[in-house]
Subunit: 492 residues, 2 copies
């Protein structure tokens, strides 16, 4: 894998100066076009062995380009806010918006590689992590990002020579730490682990570029040139087809599905409801204050047709919780900062810390509901979203979150009854908008989209709970019971 | 101060139910109008003695209003990301955007009060903090926020009775901790400190509302009613005049000022420049990697006319820094999330952690430059900004940041020369926009604004460094020297 990087590359000063002159102007122009277009971000990973010149090359990029539109992120020990969330959360929050270049020095690869070398991570554990990384990068690429991954290589001898050279120069001596020398002792293990990591993550969407780190001129030009070429190609055609076109949905051949099979006539009489409500709210109140919950978190997503009772069901949940413990996130049109990011970004930013609850009133499923039906994104975009959503929820669960998704199902007549009821009550009137009437006309399309998303994203770890919601009492109690059940199971 | 809250308020269940019915509908309507207008945020502080029903009243507000547009924040121990920034940073990041209600349970008052009771904070230290809080709240109010501060009071006996009642009920027992009982022992100290705090912060802009916490019905209605009245009044007239109209600027009576007094003919010949540049970059490189800097941070702001050399000066600084250590924040039009917040919010979010550097290419001084000149804000807004900016920078310095502000001064002829030069070079052409030519026509207005801001905001702890920038070499070295000087002084 690293053979080509050991054949000995070097570029003399004169050749370098000449090449640099042209490259610099072109890079600046490309960077400016990137900003003007603001259609995609650039995610640049600079990884490799110690002493291979990662810092020097990043500094060179800052010299060549306009540093005001570059951001570099290094990830050492996670902060406590990061530790309490999924592994990828800290990288999501650092993603550059469209039009900018984000340089990741010590990216999502650093920790898995280090943990594998020190045997904190099993081979299987590493492969799971790499799988997750591949999905993440593939999502970035599908969302339009230009992802460039560089691995700076040095031979065993080459590394020692480089470190000594760096140490001798007072301007670069600080780059060499005790840890750098300690790591030379695990050179073979690093090569072994990195070889595996690079092979598994060398995807069509985001391939690795292995660079000989020995010679500064060669290494810097290699990276600068590769960045320029990739930028120009991406600027010329930013709407690339997704890496692998997702398989189409299977159309059903009868009317029977998870929604039509529901018995919507189920009701809970008021008196019984009051008792049940008090019982399960009490239970939820206890469970959310359980000692063990301080080490977990709860993520709830609510979907359903307009007036299905999402808001009022959420109120019955929050009544049992400490307001300091939860956030409700009502999903409306994204802000411009959110639009400049991959579509899941606006949900990642609201992922709760430990001991907290995030309740999404409408959710990331908008992609396969309203965006699918209204054509706000391409078919390929929403088709791949099912898998991306499953990955997202899987990461939450892996980090200790309890994830539950509720589809509140009412029938068309009940919706009409509620629309009219809302219009009759002054302080509810504002809840009915022209959008609601428009959406109602697309009832069947929404039903089909709901069936599809339940089929494709109801996983054991993040199940869909389909709720018969024609009777509000029945729905609310069913939801509370489901949350309590999941919490009890999780907290033991 | 607390006498009125001890006369014994209680409202019976029937009266409460009747009042609640009307209040609820009105609150919902007002909350909806708040969202529709999206012209101001509501900042609601719920403070007071333990057991006085803070949690219960917040829960009641959630029941009355639409919980999807309420957020509650509790502030216990700061996270490490918060600890490394100014005291107020964690509150700034929690501020509700326009159109929403943010409830602060345990606000910026909690820590100062607790620290004063335990004598961690001297009386003088407390008063400094309160001064800062008054300025902060006055800024919020001037920015249009509705700020409501409630203090829930209980008599000494009343507190014991409440805590026992809460403990007896299994649904509320969790609210009473060992700490609650421990705090009853310091009842007198709390009354004493709180009495002082409330008196000093009982401003015209954001007065305290003291509420008897004994009776749930009374307390909840008291808060609900006060919130509704304030909301309605604010909705009816959201463009209130600032609390105290700021004093106008003093006009100069001659042509002599900090800018005209500069000797712009100063130059640094290329050869000497190269030597000096290398020297000071080397120095800066060392200082930024100094052990002591790991506990400090550096905030640099660059202002000056177009083409004054801000960008290229910044490049000479960043060339000496580790790219993983700094962020450059180019200030352009605010995003919509930024527009929904007080104007300093977009700068607060980029305040560096310890050991880091934030470089602002244009800055919060936009308020008293472009916004003043173009009329993007009212005269009262930019007139009060000088003091708000001084407060902001003072908080940074108090938290250990080293704050330097550079005004790069060129003359009109030099600007024209640079504009033409940029237009002649392909990869610099995009730097010249119609805006630049428009701003040039307002040269004198900008000069006057610059003189005013230097006069009003050059403080000992966050000084302005006026840079003669007709010669780029001279300017860059002067800037580097100033940064090194400040760092050396700060790091000892």
């Amino acid at each position: 894998m690293f053979e080509s990087a050991e054949v000995g590359h070097a570029i003399d000063k004169k050749t370098f100066r000449a090449a640099e002159e042209a490259l610099r102007g072109e890079l600046l122009l490309a960077q400016n076009a990137l900003r003007e277009q603001s259609k995609f971000p650039v995610v640049l990973l600079i990884s490799g062995v110690d002493g291979a010149g990662k810092g020097e090359t990043i500094a060179q990029l800052y010299e060549w380009m306009d540093p005001r539109f570059l951001s570099t992120f290094a990830f050492s020990a996670p902060s406590d806010e990061e530790r309490e969330r999924p592994f990828m959360w800290r990288y999501w929050r650092a993603l550059p918006p469209k039009g900018r270049i984000g340089i990741f020095s010590g990216s999502w690869y650093s920790i898995p590689i280090a943990e594998r070398i020190t045997r904190k991570l099993s081979r299987g554990g590493l492969d799971n992590r790499l799988d997750q990384i591949n999905h993440f990068e593939s999502m970035l690429v599908n969302e339009g990002a230009l992802v460039l991954k560089f691995w700076f290589h040095l031979s065993r001898e080459g590394q020692k020579v480089r470190l000594k050279t760096l140490e001798r120069n007072p301007r670069t001596a600080w780059r060499v730490t005790k840890l750098s020398w300690a790591r030379t002792k695990t050179y073979d293990e690093l090569q072994d682990v990195a070889g595996h990591v690079l092979r598994v993550t060398n995807t069509a969407a985001a391939p690795w570029i292995i660079v000989d780190g020995t010679d500064d001129n060669y290494r810097n030009l290699r990276v600068g040139r590769a960045l320029l070429d990739a930028l120009k190609a991406h600027l010329a055609d930013s709407h690339q087809p997704p890496v692998a076109p997702p398989a189409p949905l299977i159309t059903s051949i009868d009317d029977r599905n998870v929604l039509t099979a529901l018995d919507l006539s189920q009701v809970l009489p008021d008196k019984k409801y009051q008792l049940e409500l008090a019982k399960w709210q009490g239970k939820l109140s206890e469970l959310s204050r359980h000692k063990k919950f301080a080490g977990r978190s709860l993520v709830l997503a609510f979907e359903g047709m307009d007036a299905a009772g999402k808001g009022s069901s959420i109120r019955r949940i929050t009544a049992a919780l400490d307001p300091r413990q939860f956030q409700i996130i009502p999903i409306a049109a994204p802000t411009d900062e959110e639009r400049a990011q991959p579509y899941l970004w606006r949900f990642w930013r609201h992922i709760p810390r430990q001991g907290r609850v995030s309740i999404f009133d409408r959710s990331w499923y908008g992609r396969v509901l309203v965006e699918r039906i209204e054509g706000y994104c391409s078919e390929a975009d929403w088709l791949r979203a099912y898998a991306e959503i499953n990955d997202f929820e899987h990461e939450l669960v892996e980090a200790g979150a309890i994830v539950l998704k509720f589809w509140l199902q009412i029938d068309k007549a009940e919706q009409m009854r509620r629309f009219k009821e809302r219009e009759a009550i002054e302080h509810k009137r504002f809840k009915i908008t022209p959008d609601d009437w428009r959406n109602r006309k697309k009832w069947n399309a929404y039903q089909q989209a709901a069936v599809d998303l339940i089929d494709r994203t109801s996983t054991g770890k993040a199940p869909w709970i389909v709720v018969e919601a024609n009777d509000k009492n029945f729905a609310r109690v069913k939801i509370l019971k489901a949350i309590c059940g999941a919490l009890e199971k999780a907290l033991g």
